[in-house]
């Protein structure tokens, strides 16, 4: 079976200017990521892992080159179009969960659905399903401050999958969790990848976490230096 490419980076260059200095993150980076992959990206701090994730998620743009996701070029989209694209196609998972403290777990999960045309009851159904998938339905009415780190990350994952995006981007999703909880979260990501077909790109420092991915790329100074496969 031929695997379909979901993401294509073509000669992507990214530079930042800080004061008088220009910092080059990538230079002519070209790569492809297949649909349904669970890719771990590892590398030292400052290697460009998060920047790559930002570019793939359309919250940062390359200095040059093209980024195509699901057949759509996103590097030249307007900010408004990118917002809509993100809402429909990408689920984000952050290291520190980034839940809204004043909302309950269910309300946090519902946030992306406020951007859709779904009615209240349909939204409630989707939220319930997402919370069930991550096994935290019994905490639906709890606020983040009433949840443990692992539970908060589960809520964040539910928020990422509630609008059923093809692509999930996880930035150090277990960086703030103990080992046992981290394993639970990683197993859940694995489940989402294998059972629900989500393409997951995970940035991590942790080789143990990377083992849960089907493929690992090592990024250093803007280049992939070595590839490890499970």
């Amino acid at each position: 079976m031929t695997e379909k490419t979901l993401i294509e980076l073509d000669h992507v260059t990214k530079r930042y200017t800080r004061g008088r200095d220009t910092i080059e993150i990538f230079d002519e980076l070209t790569m492809g990521i297949e649909e349904g992959a669970f890719l771990a990206i590892m590398g030292p701090s400052g290697s460009g892992k998060t920047t790559l994730l930002n570019i793939l998620g359309g919250i940062d743009s390359p200095t040059s080159g093209s980024v195509t996701v699901g057949g759509q070029r996103i590097d030249n989209m307007s900010e408004g179009a990118l917002s809509k694209w993100r809402a429909a196609n990408v689920g984000f998972i952050f290291q520190f969960y980034n839940l809204m403290p004043m909302l309950t777990a269910a309300q946090n999960v519902e946030l992306p659905l406020l951007l859709t045309d779904l009615g209240r009851s349909r939204r409630a159904e989707h939220v319930k399903t997402a919370l069930n998938v991550v096994g935290i339905a019994d905490r639906a009415k709890h606020k983040p401050s009433e949840l443990s780190g692992g539970q908060q990350q589960r809520v964040a994952i539910a928020r990422a999958i509630v609008s059923d995006p093809k692509l999930m981007l996880a930035d150090e999703p277990t960086g703030d969790l103990d080992r046992t909880t981290a394993v639970e979260i990683l197993e859940m990501l694995q489940l989402l990848n294998k059972e629900f077909g989500k393409t997951i790109i995970m940035v991590t420092h942790d080789p143990e976490a990377a083992r849960f991915a089907s493929r690992t790329l090592h990024l250093d100074k803007g280049h992939f230096v070595q590839e490890a496969a499970e």
Binding site: Y16, T50, T51, L53, N54, G57, I59, D60, E79, G80, S83, K84, W85, R86, A87, A88, F92, F94, N98, M100, P101, M102, L103, Q107, E110, L111, P112, L114, L115, R120, R159, D171
Partner: protein
Amino acid sequence: MNNLKLIWKNAARKKLRLFLTVFSIFTAFLIYGVLGGFQSSLDEGIDIASGANRLVTVHKVSFIQPLPYSYVNKVRSMDGVADVTYAVWFGGYYQNPQQILAVFAVDPESYLRLYSELVIPEDARKTFFSDRRALLVGKKMADRFGWEKGQQVPIQSNIWTNQEGSQTWEFTVAGIFEANDPKIDTSYLLFPYEYLNEGRQFGQDSVGWLVVGTESPDINTQVADAIDLEFANASTQTKTDTEKAFNQAFIEQFGDIGLIVASVTGAAFFTILLIAGNTMMLAIRERTSEIAVLKTLGFGNGKIFTQVILESVLVTLLGAVPAMALAGLFLKGASAAMAGILPAMFINTGMLVKSAGIMLLLALVTGIIPAWKAMNINVVTALGRR
């Protein structure tokens, strides 16, 4: 949850801060509602109560100085004058000096001809014309004191002593009058001039002021000038103005109410602008990373901008709407307590529209910079994702 609830959740996340901000806005709008309502009621009362073709002639030195009765007929004979009536301030109070009443001794027939907006039952009118002790009671006063037709009412005067050496004057309620426009003040009493003139110990054959009806509002200025010119060389000189200008000047003797109201409410709103604006800025700054997350989830710039503006509108409305309602209730209560001293006070439609405009403007001004900043938050920087 919906977008409105999300906005409310954001606004209410720090309850004490929300309460203090809302309370500040409430205070400013309460001040505005009470003072503005007072002023607009005065203005509207003056507009409604002032006949377009009515002039008022008073003593040139001060309107509390009397005019000779002889001026009535002299003015009546002048060109452009359709009718003349006159009145005297009785300085009345009921039962105790704190219960001040607006009581006027008037010439019954000419007064009711010129103030044709007053609606009086025919039998009350007849009694008023024939009985010197007849008292025509404005509806508001009748409601206030529960007076009825035929009732004997003793009213004290702090100016006029009668022939018996008493300042208490006996009246019989001839009837209750209303006005053809409910906004016209009816919190005053009228009785025949003859009763006062014959009964008082001093000041006979003098009147407080003349009310002159002109043949057309277009000739008001000419007639007013002609009246003052007529008495320019007399021992008692006059000052004639339109009734509206007279009423306005009467009110302004207490101070430039418009300027006072504008200054006080302006200062209150300026302070609120700083407080609410600063609070909104602070609130948005604290939520920088959350806004960045919302943007990451797909909330576009327009949506973020609208949410912050609506949050500002919501906070403003939470303070301003109850304040205006309370101001309305306060004015209503104050009107009842001060009937006879001040005209009916209320928050009129114009004032409501104006206050709605101020609410919107305040919300926009305090919300627009935070909204702009929120809209322009850079996700990568805000989340420290570099």
